[in-house]
């Protein structure tokens, strides 16, 4: 009997030193797919490889042989003795394999629950497999159901809703203070990946102007050009605090750059319009006492991480809802899978033809005046009809037992005669 098997390792079972050695590039994956498909024991195969996992999804009749084959090919292809990664490998079959792939695609198995990249990565891997023609009826259906379920979880739960990165968290906060960020002005002090990312997000939110201050004026000019803003001198900072709304600070300075007194004196000139400081630097650039001033808000890197932790907690609660959706999806897939068995299909086909023929005979003889033996004649005709019609289809479907290729015939039969309605 054909079964679905999944084997692999991820960030929970293997350290990065092992994962990186077993990772597959797109071309390598294509070669590996072809090799596994060629082997005698595997019918269909799809391979995923990301920085956090390598997984091989297959259908096969002989589970042990298929798993053996996959492990051996992994080891040979990647030039790594099986003993070195054997312990990190997990194997799932049947419903568990289905559940696993659903969970992975929905980002429930990811390092950061709710991350959006994994679905795209799986789609690409599947696309690869279809190009190499290594996936078939069962895995095609499984992967489509996977995408459907992942999308469902994304829309029906709030799993991906709140920021779990520093820059996103900062923008979220800004929106809670200012409402829409259109037309706001931003001052970037210093430079750095997280700070620049935050500025990019702000630009996406259509802020009006970006000023960049850097101790080295040339660097400021470079950055400013990137953002379509203007560079200012470091000494001009207090003057610009007067007119901007959001200040992101990320310098390497060991000292405080903006003090409470400076801001206190600037606020009246701003007519107390709110001011939001995002201090990503360690040691901190912005005097934390500024937070005590009216209408001024300061969040340092610990505070931002605190926001992220809260959001992660929310995500994990939402993840529970996701698991329930997956439970439903697994059952639904199992029902389809079971219907792929030959015998039920043949029985259902026969039943369908029988009901059609019976109905037509009834209509025809209704208005006729028939004797009992006439009716029996029609009955015999009906059975002969059905037997003759079913003869070749039955032979074909039953041929080769329940091998993988058969599922194509079964699938088409079910679709042709609309047996799934």
């Amino acid at each position: 009997m054909v079964e679905i098997i999944l084997l692999g390792l991820n960030h929970k079972t293997a350290p990065v030193e092992i994962r990186e050695r077993l990772a597959f590039s797109k071309e390598e994956a294509a070669t590996m797919l072809d090799a596994i498909k060629e082997s005698a024991y595997v019918n269909e195969v799809v391979l995923f490889s990301t920085c956090n996992r390598v997984e091989i999804l297959m259908t096969a009749d002989d589970k042990a042989a298929a798993v053996e084959t996959a492990k051996r090919y992994l080891s040979e292809f990647k030039n790594m003795p099986l003993s070195q990664f054997q312990d990190s490998i997990y194997v799932h079959e049947g419903d568990e394999a289905v559940r696993h792939i659903f969970r992975v695609a929905s980002s429930l198995d990811s390092m950061m629950v709710g991350e959006p990249q994994i679905l795209g990565q799986i789609k690409e891997a599947y696309f690869n497999a279809t190009k190499r023609k290594t996936s078939g009826v069962i895995l095609n259906r499984l992967l489509h159901k996977t995408f459907f379920t992942a999308k469902r979880i994304r829309t029906e739960t709030r799993i991906g809703d709140h920021a779990v990165s520093i820059s996103y968290a900062a923008i979220e906060l800004a929106r809670k203070i200012f409402g829409p960020l259109e037309g706001k002005k931003v001052l970037l002090i210093g430079a750095g990946e997280m700070a620049e990312l935050a500025v990019e997000h702000l630009l996406k939110n259509r802020v009006k102007e970006i000023f960049v201050a850097n101790r080295t004026f040339i660097n400021g000019v470079e950055l400013a050009r990137r953002f379509g803003g203007s560079a200012i001198r470091f000494e001009e900072i207090p003057g610009y605090i007067l007119q901007v709304d959001i200040i992101i600070s990320s310098t390497g300075s060991p000292d405080i750059i903006v003090t409470k007194d400076q801001v206190k004196h600037i606020m009246p000139g701003r007519r107390n319009r709110p001011l939001f400081f995002i201090d990503i630097a360690v040691p901190r650039d912005i005097d934390p006492a500024i937070n005590k001033l009216n209408n001024a808000y300061v969040y340092d890197i610990d505070d931002l991480n605190g926001v992220i932790d809260e959001n992660l907690e929310d995500r994990n609660k939402e993840a529970v809802k996701g698991e329930r959706i997956i439970d439903e999806a697994v059952i639904s897939f199992r029902q389809w899978f079971d219907s792929l068995d030959v015998v039920p299909t043949i029985i259902e086909l026969r039943k369908k033809i029988d009901s059609i023929v019976t109905a037509e005979i009834q209509k025809t003889i209704q208005s006729m005046n028939l004797t009992e033996s006439d009716r029996e004649a029609f009955d015999r005709m009906k059975n002969a009809l059905i037997n003759k019609i079913m003869h070749h289809p039955t032979l074909l479907l039953k041929r080769d037992g329940c091998h993988g290729r058969n599922s194509v015939y079964i699938d088409i039969t079910r679709k042709l005669f609309n047996l799934d309605d």
């Binding site: 929106r175 809670k176 203070i177 709110p274 009216n294 969040y299 505070d303 926001v307 809260e310």
Partner: protein, 272 residues
């Protein structure tokens, strides 16, 4: 008509419940439920007032019972007017609660009709009553917004986001809404006072009589004038504005009810 009052108060109470549940669970259908109940309650309330007016030919604020009915009506009505432009969903809960309190209290309030002169039919009086009630409803709303603002600002300043942070809109929206409510309320209060003076002159022959109600209304007017002035010139916004809105409403409550009960004066007869 008693039945209609029961129905109205029931609708306001159901609306409050809907909004409170919405506050906790954040499901949109609860919000819609709250809105629908509030709107229906407002409709019944309007019919009630219209009926009283038609029956007596006088604007129904002659006793505490009627006054509370009109107060509840004004709060619900003003909320809907503002909701059109300022979408602070949970404010509906505050309005519903306030309206419910007013209408339920009107059950307990005496309904004795006070013998008054035909002076009650003056157009100046009608303008006076309507603008005062609606203006005060706006101040009530501003107070509610102020409370929400303080809750949200605390959440952001203290870095503990807890219950309210997710459920409340941005500080900017809350601040703007509060400002709009106060500006509207102040305008209506001004009109109310002026029409009050004109009416007083027509009935008692003088504009100002140092009656406690007049005095306290003046104090209220000065307070809100100061709030608006502070905002426009020095930048009294944010938490300061919110706090002042709450204090202002406390003064309004005293002017509206306290004066009638605790001090003597010509408005007193309308709350016996």
């Amino acid at each position: 008509m008693d039945n209609l009052i029961t129905v109205t108060s029931l609708l306001y109470v159901l609306s409050s419940v809907g909004y409170i549940l919405f506050l906790f669970f954040q499901k949109e259908y609860l919000h819609k439920l709250g809105q629908v109940f509030l709107a229906t309650g407002f409709l019944c309330n309007s019919i009630l007032i219209g009926y009283y007016y038609a029956k007596t030919g006088q604007i129904p604020v002659r006793n505490l019972h009627e006054t509370l009915l009109v107060a509840g009506w004004a709060v619900a009505g003003v909320f809907f007017a503002f909701q059109y432009k300022f979408k602070v969903k949970i404010l509906g809960g505050y309005a519903a609660l306030l309206a419910a309190v007013c209408v339920v209290a009107s059950f307990l309030a005496p309904g004795k009709i006070v013998e008054t002169q035909t002076i009650f039919n003056s157009v100046w009086l009608i303008a006076h009553v309507v603008s005062i009630f609606v203006g005060h409803a706006a101040f009530a709303l501003a107070c509610g917004v102020g409370l929400l603002y303080i809750a949200q600002e605390n959440a952001i300043k203290r870095k503990k986001h807890g219950f309210f942070y997710k459920r409340l809109p941005s500080l900017d929206l809350l601040d703007s809404t509060g400002y709009a409510c106060i500006a509207t309320g102040f305008t209506l209060l001004t009109i109310g006072l002026i029409t009050g003076f004109i009416y007083a002159k027509s009935v008692w022959g003088r504009f100002w009589g140092w009656d406690p109600k007049e005095v306290w209304s003046g104090i209220t007017w000065l307070l809100y004038a100061a709030i608006l002035h502070g905002r426009l010139t020095v930048g009294w916004r944010g938490k300061k504005a919110a706090t002042m809105a709450i204090i202002g409403f406390a003064v309004v409550l005293f002017t509206f009810f306290g004066v009638n009960f605790l001090l003597k004066g010509h408005h007193g007869i309308f709350t016996r």
